[in-house]
Subunit: 357 residues, 2 copies
DNA sequence: TTGTAAGCGTTATCAA
DNA sequence: TTGATAACGCTTACAA
């Protein structure tokens, strides 16, 4: 495998000249340039990125640390990161499924020297210390952090506002007894969505009531199991805000088997707008989460800072989470063409998205 | 940011000793070991991976080159790669959305020195030359290549066998006029699936008939549009094999709006087993594609070769693509519990998979 | 057991 | 405009 020395020897110049030609330096004679490019292509020379970034102290690689890769949420985040990075000619060093602080830290440690910046999701408050340690080593952009998480660049989803808007939508349809199926306790998204639900109720002069807050853990099964408690609650709820679509899916399925009609007997709203949501029966009203945008914005934020010479103040971006009205809440669907036409034009498929395999 | 020199200075030993301690070399005194570890943790020293791999000529990083990141297929492939890599303490350097040979090559070039091996998908036959060039630089495992693609390690999906089995399933149900909706011409998966369809027909003594082969491009819309031609074909088909689930989805939706009942008036089988498939109405009979396993096996293949000192012969692995019988083909569903129970136990969710966010 | 010094493949700094 | 040569941060002979 040829190195810069081989090219220099073949071109009969010094390695310094080769380097200058390859990096497009101006102070090179036409003659040298010609000889070097010829030699390089004759040998099919590929510069060693590792050696290069050792001296330049820059890698053109962005690190990504995620707690898990499961589900379409993380896939979309990665897709957004990759796409945005590619546009700027960056590559992505990925490491996921990091449960505890210790593994997060060791993954970050092993990226030392290989990346120009790190985009990470801090699973819990315990990892705040880890973030502090990591930030001493390279620039960090946090994904979806807890609100008051230090003075670090961050981009997140408007969980609170989205949940509030979803609940307000149900209120606007006349519902007064609105239940919720919570996500796992301690989870950032889950907590924020519950807060939004509470806020909307209070805004309508309604007091949050514990019996109307059903336990869940974001799984389909927990949504399914919540159906019994839901129907047993008094006053009998006429609507539910499920903290994510998976639980909404489980719930709808349970209600169907219990002959409770959605939306007639029970209005249901979810959160996430997963792919299945629009194909459910009835199509699920939900809150759109732009996971792709989350990744995309994180990259842009990172590279903006990297490229700006003067110090950039800490920035915190919040992506909107709009309510997508379909049929499961009983309102007239605003965005869904009759089934036949939908196959032709689907406004929800992110631009550029294409089918697999 | 502290380097090995800082640690050496603080511990009052040479950098060689620091290196030995940090790499767990045996020939170090207890005294030195103690001093070094103390100094390292006091400074919170993180070794520079770039410098390290420059000397060791190994990075513990696997490169991944994909034509596109769109859709759950690629997400799953990446998830499989990441998971398998993590188990072996490897990280993943990702670069996707490479349309033409030139960008593939330049992405690979920029990975020179940063990776120990490359897992790539060669979009078309044109990229065969690129693969040859790349293989001179590092070990390569190909994903889903065209059958006779050089002497390179590869892992792929049994497109041919899966399509044949799907078609045979329809034949077994008594259908004789079986149409297909093709994928885009020139696409590997598409071509193989068509071959499988043909093979099954011939095996049943039926000649493939062009009017029964409807154009499609793997998009939902193309499946939708194929409905008209399907119903116009003579002899009127009683069953369709769609080359992927997206097209099957579009088709089913079109048939519903035309009051053609599935499976009574038209049996439909898809390919891929995308997440939506089991939630369709009726649930779609399809062929399972193990994208996660594809990535996982590629990593294992790569690392097996990397770790085996003696030369390893070229290996080619083909992952099975079993038919998943649901309702859209008219047979009794073998694997689907009544709707109510499904929320509890879903045999298709890959082990360890969890909901998002 | 330890330290010195020679790489690893580049880029960057000087003189020339 | 060029070429020695010194970094870059680490590992590893080789000597001590």
């Amino acid at each position: 495998v040829p190195t810069i020395h081989d090219v220099a020897q073949l071109a009969d110049v010094s390695i310094a000249t080769v380097s200058r030609v390859l990096n497009g330096s101006l102070r090179v004679s036409e003659e040298s340039r010609r000889k070097v490019t010829a030699a390089a292509s004759q040998l099919d020379y590929w510069p060693n990125g590792t050696a290069r970034s050792l001296t330049t102290r820059s890698t053109h690689v962005l690190g990504v640390l995620l707690p898990d890769l499961y589900g379409e949420f993380f896939s979309e985040v990665i897709r957004g990161i990759d796409q945005a990075a590619r546009v700027q000619m960056y590559q992505v060093l990925l490491s996921s499924s990091h449960a505890d602080t210790e593994t997060v830290l060791s993954a970050a440690r092993s990226m030392r020297g290989r990346i120009d910046g790190l985009i990470m999701m801090a699973p819990d408050e315990a990892s705040a210390e880890a973030v502090e340690l990591i930030r001493r080593r390279f620039p960090v952009v946090l994904l979806n952090p807890r609100s008051p998480s230090g003075d670090c660049d961050a981009v997140s989803i408007a969980n609170f506002e989205g949940a509030r808007a979803a609940t307000q939508h149900l209120l606007g349809l006349g519902h007064r007894a609105i239940a919720t199926i919570r996500g796992p306790l301690g989870n950032v998204d889950s907590d924020e969505r519950l807060r939004g639900y509470h806020d909307a109720l209070r805004g309508a002069g309604l007091a949050p009531s514990p019996p109307l807050e059903l336990a869940g853990d974001f799984t389909e099964g927990s949504g399914y199991r919540a159906a019994a408690d839901l129907l047993a609650a008094r006053p009998r709820p006429t609507a539910v805000f499920a903290a994510n679509d998976s639980m909404a899916l489980g719930l709808v399925s349970a209600l169907a088997s219990l002959d409770v009609s959605v939306p007639k007997d029970m209005a249901v709203v979810g959160f996430d707008d997963i792919a299945i949501a629009r194909y459910m029966n009835p199509p699920l009203t939900t809150v759109r989460v732009d996971a792709f945008g989350l990744g995309q914005h994180a990259v842009r934020m990172m590279l903006y800072r990297a490229r700006t010479p003067e110090p950039v103040p800490v920035r915190r971006e919040v992506l909107p989470a709009p309510v997508v009205v379909r049929c499961s809440c009983g309102a007239a669907p605003a965005d869904r063409a009759p089934r036949g036409r939908e196959a032709e034009i689907d406004p929800f498929i992110p631009s550029g998205r294409r089918p697999s395999p």
